[in-house]
Each structure stands twice: as C-alpha cells, then as structure tokens.
C-alpha cells in the first residue's frame, strides 16, 4: 500500500516477486504442457515479458505419448491425455535449452519419472545446466507408472523429493496432484523432504464419453481436466496448502484473467501459472502482468507481492 492509498498507474506498481530464493520479474509463468518449449510462440511474442516458462514435462527417455485422440472439450474446460510426449531430457539439454536460455526469463524444467531413480537422474542432469529451477511433476495422470501414482501418496512424495533434494542445489519445486483426499498431507510431505516451493494444481482425472460410438472420447479412456471449471478446487487447495505449510506456492488451475491470478495470490500463491488459457488466448499470459498491476494500482497498492496470502477468511 502506498501511503495515502490513492490510485496508482500500472507502471508505478512493482511486479517483481520471489518464490523462495527465485526472483521473478513478475508473478506470471507459462505452465508446463501448454506452451511447448516456447519456440512456437517466440515469433509472435516477446518472451522476456514473462515471469518464467515451465517446459513441457521431460522424461529420461524420449516418449511418443499416448495414441490420439488426446484432447476433448468439456464445459469450461478440457481433458488431455497427451501422455508426456517429449524428446527426452538429453535432447532437451542439447538442442532446446540453449535457445530457451536466450529468452531472458526464468526457465523451469518440468520433469516426470516412472520411478524415484528416474527423477534423481534427471535432476542430476538438469542441475548441471543454467535452468532457473526444477519442477518435479508428481502429478501427471496420463501415464501408467510413476508421476501421479507417486504424488498421491505422502510417503512416496517424501521419498522422491528427499532423494532429489540430496542431489541438487537448484530450487526444487514440487507440482502436486489434486486427486487426493488431503492436499495438505502431500504438501507437508514435500515440505519435510526439503522442497523449495509447491506448485498446485495439476489436472483432475476425468472422462468424456461419445454417446454415438459408446466409447470414451480419449483413446486413453481417462484424461486430465483443466481450465476454468477447476478453478474453485485449485483456489481451495492453494489456500489449504498455504495454511498448512510454510512453503511458497505457485498457483494454477483455470486462470484466465488478471482477477483470477490475483485471487490465487490472495489464497497464498507467490506466483501463478497460466495453462489451458494459453491454448485459447495465446496473448493472455503476456498481457497479465500489466493487467494485474493495473488492478493493484487502482486499489492503491504499489506492488503485486503484497497480495500473497492476504485473504481474510471468515
């Protein structure tokens, strides 16, 4: 708040935030899986305007992903079952990361493993690079082993995160799945294991049915639900994780406007990610930092960081 609470212009509002010891230009990151590795949008947008970019989920070996159809539309949302199609961490480090490092923004490597050993190995490889932080994806619902099956169990989260912590000094963000009875239990496990931040939420497991063929729309039968439909669930989980741990939080799930982004910050997020909305409105993530600053300024606040955790529950 500036002294007399009078309105400020968006330019007068400081957008910088920190997530643990990671400094970001602004709280808006492109989420994993909905921004590729940045190359497709680089011709059209200045990527240095972002707070950061989370890579598509990387695996130790290249993955072809699931057979199509991989996407289905739902009310105010979509299902995806991409199944982590990616060129593998080796190709990423050699062929993709160098270009990403030229974008002048934080680069967060999202990694997904079949096993603890996979995660540890990838963390080791990526720690030797110039990436800003690691995002352990313990939450992808579209693969048969690893990932979400690890993230659903606090003990396994504890073990995997602790093992990764042991081999890296890079900031370690842990991305959690909402498909759990208690998000706080999983969040506390990640905290105990030495995570630097929590990222929540990944997609909710869902299904779409084709009435004519009497088959699931997705070849994978089930997929991950994302988009505005899940925003209320995501806000609640960010709120609970913020209340029940001391970790900084990166919030996402259905963010489609500056107001949405600030609501996540109020609930406890230090920064936010934009996922599915980028598929529909590729401009959005670039417009958000200024739009958030405009709202903050109109309310007389001279920085965005003040929003984090400011929600006053009844």
């Amino acid at each position: 708040m500036n002294q007399d609470n009078s309105p400020l212009t968006s330019k007068q509002v400081k957008t910088e935030v920190t997530v643990g010891n990671v400094q970001l230009k602004n709280p808006v990151l492109a989420a994993s899986g909905t921004f590729g590795f940045g190359a497709e949008l680089a011709p059209y947008y200045d990527l240095s305007g972002l707070g950061g970019i989370c890579t598509k989920g990387l695996t130790l070996q290249p993955r072809r992903g699931n057979p199509p159809p991989r996407v289905a539309e739902t009310e105010s949302g979509m299902l995806n079952a991409v199944g982590l199609q990616n060129p593998g961490v080796g190709v990423f480090v050699k062929e993709i990361l160098p270009t990403m490092l030229t974008y002048d923004t934080a680069i967060i490597a999202n990694v997904a493993g079949n096993s603890k050993a996979d995660y540890v190995e990838m963390v080791r490889i990526l720690s030797a690079t110039e990436i800003t932080a690691l995002e352990l994806n313990l939450s992808c619902p579209n693969v048969s082993v690893g990932c979400m099956s690890i993230g659903a169990e606090p003990e396994q989260v504890l073990e995997v995160v602790a093992s990764c912590r042991a081999v890296t000094d890079k900031p370690l963000w842990v991305k959690l799945t909402p498909n759990v009875t208690s998000i706080s239990a999983v969040a506390r496990a990640a905290e105990e294991a030495g995570a630097d931040a929590l990222v929540l939420i990944n997609t909710l497991l869902g299904m779409a049915v084709d009435l004519k063929t009497e088959r699931p729309v997705l070849r994978n039968n089930t997929g991950g639900l994302s988009g505005p439909a899940i925003k209320p669930i995501a806000l609640r989980m960010v709120y609970e994780a913020h209340r029940d741990t001391n970790l900084p939080i990166v919030g996402l799930g259905g963010i489609a406007s500056a107001e949405d982004a600030l609501e996540f910050m109020l609930c406890g997020a230090s920064a936010v990610q934009v996922g599915t909305a980028s598929l529909i409105d590729p401009d959005l993530v670039f417009r958000l930092p200024a739009a958030m600053a405009a709202i903050a300024g109109a309310a007389g606040h001279d920085n965005l960081a003040r929003y984090t955790g400011q929600l006053r529950p009844w």
Partner: protein, 290 residues
Amino acid sequence: MCQDNKPSLRHQGSLLGNERLSDSTHLLTIKAPELAYAARPGQFVQIKTSRYLRRPIGLMSVDREQGLIQLGIRRVGPGSNELCDLAPGIAVDLVGPLGTGFNLGLFGEGACETGPAHLVTVGGGTGLFPLLYLLEEAAGQGIPTTAIAGFRSPAEAILQERMRATAKRCIFASDTGGLDFTGHAGEALTSVLDTWHLRPEQILICACGPAGLLENIALQCLERKIPCQVSLEARMACGIGVCVGCSIPVYCHNGGAETAESETTYERCCYDGPVFPAARIVWPSRGGIW
C-alpha cells in the same frame, strides 16, 4: 497484440458477409488484413465461439489487397452452428494463419524440365474449402489445374461455379449420379489418371476431405508414384503447436511402410500439418489411428 514489430497471432476480424451455400453450409467473409496478408493455401484459423475451445476452420479464399478472408463452414454441432448464424457486422476473434499448408513447389523431381506441371485437387465435403484457395493460388501462378470434387448428391453440390471459374478442368462426382461422374471422388481420380498422358512427376495431387477418401487417394498416388499432399483433420485444442494434443501418426522417414512402432512417431496436425506428404502418414489400413 503486436509487440516490437512481431506479427500478430490473434486478430480481431469483422464479419462482412454471411452467405448460405446450402442447407448445411455457409460462407463467411471476414475483414482481417494482417491475417489475409500472411496466409498461405492449406492454412487454417482458430475461431472463438461461446464454446470453450476454439474451432479450427480452413482458409477457403484470401483477398490480400482487400484484406479479406473467406471461410466455408458446415453445421455439425454447437460451434459450427453458431458460426453459421453470425450476423454481419459482428467482431470475430481469430488466431492464425496457422499450420503448414500445401507446397506448390513440390512437384516430382524434374517435373519442370519435362513439361508443364499440372495440379490436381481432389476433395469432398468441407475438404473443398481449402482446395479452392489452393486452386486460386495455382491459377495466380499460372499452373494448370484439374479440380475433382465429390458430393453425396447433386443437391449437396456447392462451389461449382467458383471452381469452374478457377480450375482449368472440373470434374464433379456424385455417388447418386446426375453430375459429371458417378461414384466418389477417389474413383473419379482413378478414371482421370488411367486415361492421362502426363507422367507421374509432372503431376501434383492435393487432397482434402474425409479420412477414408484421403487414404484411397494416397494409396493410388503411392502406387502410381505421383507426389501427393493431404490435408488432415484431428481433434485440436490449441491449434498453435504448443499442447501436442492433435497427433497424427507418421513414419519417421519419408515414404516408409514399416509398421513397427519404433519406425513411426507422432506429429502435430496443427503445426507440422495439417498438410502432410501422403507417403508419411500411417494410414488406418496400416494401423494408424487419429
């Protein structure tokens, strides 16, 4: 939103006209100069409706001077219905132009030396729309063209006049008879190729339409060694290449016929396609699914 002289991806178009082509098909004319300027045949746009995801629609015609694009839309569900019912004057939220389109430079090796190269378009249903743009482009480049268009029945035939005005030769096929050729578009193509004097490398076949038709055409062309490009449709989310949601199974190496999984991979219909060399596609008869 144009940043630092970068081209725009999102455009606010303005609907100038909405013409009914048939019971189930409308033709939209939209002013969107920057998009029109950048567009190439075979590319598409993603249009916003009240549904959550955008709808991919191929470019049917482009007038760069006037800054206009035309889209042909068939009613098949809520999104396309909404588009067919749009009132002129309204703003249209577009992302594009998107994808890798047709490549008129890709005739067979040595085609130019051996005689005038000839473009044959084959299509049916909404597949005619992108082919019209391609025919117009070829006409502009002085490439002689044959347009083969299939319809279920003469009553469903659309765009006939416009195709006749554009292509050097037109063959309209109908399953039920009553047009130039009785049978489907693939059979019409066979009859054309069977009686033609041109050598394979002088011909380029570009096809768009139902997957079954495309496979039929692709296999004929492979057999006859005629270069063939097909424009495919897949369920899309982003349309801009970032979500990897619209995979098409392709052979890792051009022209492969292997079925081993290790020899095939997925490419994005929206970014690597929608137009692919027909020989690269793992067609359903070889186990491909999309």
